[in-house]
Symmetry: C2
Subunit: 255 residues, 2 copies
DNA sequence: TGACAAAATGAGCTTAACTCATTATTACTG
DNA sequence: CAGTAATAATGAGTTAAGCTCATTTTGTCA
């Protein structure tokens, strides 16, 4: 409880002490210590996973006493939570930057897929921290983690919505179907890629390309238009010939 | 170590004592006790999750002493492992039965999707046990869990391969792309369905139908047939025109 | 420099997984 | 049917990891 308060205090930028101003150096030191703890925890989680990481080892790695951890984080879960939140933040930032650079919907989707894949491959142990959190309970909606997830996912949503607006993706009210297919396929694909070590890079590209195409394919203007145009032309020609043939038959008297 | 040996012994059906035969009642009692333990653990995992389940509570629920648990399972993880293996077994059996009853590939895929979804919704806490196992390490390939997963997944694979053979699904060497998309989408979709309580049943159907269509769509014969009919009409017209043109040429004496 | 607040410490508490010496049960035999 | 050896079960005790809190150290003022 005390720790939780402190955690909030050092995270948010509220005025710590009344006089202020010259507290800067102290604050800076405190925050760098918090960073050191998070960094140590991150590394441990990556290396040996959450379950096998001990608080005492994190403390040692961060160069602080075990008790100090609890001044910054109320418990081990809260520490994992922070590590996960940082991960989401980086992920979201990278996604936004990449999308902003690209104009075409297909390119954007391929980028998002590759970006997601590469990051969950590199930091898959961090992603696993998610599975500890109870995503069923009512509490989850409204949690910081839920918001971070929404923020990340909405980058994808925005790309798709704009793609629909432009007519590059078939319109649907059920955006969740596309979203879950996209991210679900990426996470499962990641495991396959990890399992079959060979040709990882190629598989990443394959998966990203396939998913992007799957989304735009449904009513891809390119293919559909070509076929329709070709058929329409043929049919127009046919109609003209039908008329001409009928007239000819009338003249010659037979069929 | 001792416990592990015992676990193996009571699991496998090897001859426990030399004389054999009349051991039946004792074996039966032992196995029913093992069942009681697994059942208790299953229920606890479902109710409060793996982390918050204590061995002492499992023991109490199963009506045995805490130490007895370790005669049957070397540790808590091994117990979770068994619960998970049982889950896979049920899942695989159900999938096989359902597929056998259906002849059409699309129907089979819809069934598999619905079957998977309904089960991972009902027993999602069991599915979470998977995320504890280290699916990266070399050890995983060759593990019992890996084999059970393969057995389950191969039901899907077989359906898809047969669908390809029949020409109902576009052929591809990259079956893993279809597989990961299918199961990944289902798992992510499950979470969305859990989160938005309303209209779960409808969402299940929607997701199952969408995924099945996605797989067969690429070269769905239906669409292709329509096009072919259209083409056939055109060809008929063309033949008629050829005749008419020939006659016209005869009359007009040109070309 | 002294005093006060903020920060840090680590010995000790609590709890849960796991062990093992002891006891109880069962199946077989003379 | 009593004796006995093998098998099964027990729960007090050990270990270890998360967490607490009385005490100490550090930093910043007047």
């Amino acid at each position: 409880m005390t720790a939780a308060k402190k955690q909030a205090k050092s995270k948010a930028g509220n005025g710590v002490t009344a006089p202020g101003v010259r507290t800067a150096t102290r604050r800076a030191r405190v925050e760098s210590k918090e960073d050191a703890i998070v960094k140590a925890a991150y590394q441990m989680f990556i290396d040996v996973g959450f379950a096998k990481t001990t608080m005492s080892e994190i403390a040692k790695k961060a160069g602080v006493a075990e008790g100090t951890l609890y001044l910054y984080f109320s418990n081990k879960d809260a520490l994992a939570h922070t590590v996960l939140a940082d991960f989401y933040e980086r992920l979201t930032l990278g996604a936004k930057k990449g999308v902003a650079k690209l104009g075409n919907t297909e390119e954007r989707l391929v980028f998002l897929a590759r970006h997601h894949l590469k990051n969950i491959i590199k930091e898959r142990r961090i992603l696993e921290l998610l599975s500890m959190t109870d995503r069923d309970s009512e509490i989850y909606r409204g949690s910081e983690l839920y918001k971070m997830n929404r923020a990340y996912v909405s980058v994808f949503d925005d790309v798709v919505r704009e793609g629909m607006w432009r007519g590059e993706i078939k319109k649907t009210d059920e955006l969740w179907l596309l979203r879950d297919t996209f991210f679900g396929a990426l996470e499962y694909g990641m495991r396959t890629i990890m399992l079959k070590r060979r040709g990882a890079e190629q598989r990443v590209n394959q998966l990203a390309q396939t998913l992007a195409e799957m989304l735009i394919q449904n009513t891809k203007p390119a293919g559909a238009t070509e076929n329709q145009t070709s058929l329409q032309n043929l049919e127009k020609t046919a109609r003209r010939f039908e008329k001409a043939a009928t007239r000819l038959e009338r003249i010659t008297g037979q069929m």
